[in-house]
């Protein structure tokens, strides 16, 4: 069965802290994505990666960075967390070629106080 796992389900951090969110997929997918989900705004793409060490900005990259050192792992980094980054963060992966569906992890609910 396909699986995308995220390192934490719930996380509470203080303003200014550096935050790492990790995502691992076991489907050998080339593409991986980070979204944030906020009520009334749906899913917004932060960053995505189509290959190891490759990354592309999504719609809302400000305040975030990413790292993809291995094909199965995609990390989201908040360099200096702020209260407006309190949100649900969803990781997804998908294959390449043709139309592909995305497989999502369970999400990390991050609270920045």
């Amino acid at each position: 069965d396909v699986k995308v796992t995220q390192s934490s389900r719930y996380l509470v951090k203080r303003t200014g802290e550096k935050v790492f969110l990790e995502c691992v997929q076991d489907m050998d997918h080339e593409n991986m994505f980070w979204y944030r989900q906020d009520p009334g705004l749906g899913l917004r793409l932060i960053y995505f990666s189509y290959d190891v060490k490759m990354k592309e900005k999504g719609d809302i990259p400000e305040g975030y960075s990413v790292s993809r050192e291995k094909k199965e792992r995609f990390s989201l980094i908040l360099e200096s967390a702020s209260t407006n980054q309190t949100s649900m963060y969803l990781c997804a992966s998908g294959g390449s070629g043709g139309a592909y569906e995305q497989y999502f992890g369970p999400g990390t609910r991050l609270t920045v106080t």
């Binding site: 593409n31 009334g40 899913l43 793409l45 390449s96 139309a99 592909y100 999502f104 369970p106």
Partner: protein, 115 residues
Amino acid sequence: AQSVTQLDSQVPVFEEAPVELRCNYSSSVSVYLFWYVQYPNQGLQLLLKYLSGSTLVESINGFEAEFNKSQTSFHLRKPSVHISDTAEYFCAVSDRSGGYQKVTFGTGTKLQVIP
């Protein structure tokens, strides 16, 4: 640029009644269309998708959606809902942009099934 509009943020419906969740999209190129479902405290999972061919697509749990190119719509329907269908539903569109497929999600519709 592509976009997805889900006009209804919440849809309450009685158990065993029919339901339609509306989705309209805009895109300048050919598209692929998806419906995802998110149960409480879970990630999204694919419900059904339209890639090509028959404009009516079905899921294993009784949902169906029809691609209407002239109206740029992909509404989701179920003739008789169950309590277990209570969830948030996201419509998504994908087209080819810059050599990769960007997926744009709608803002979601919360389906509340009332016993």
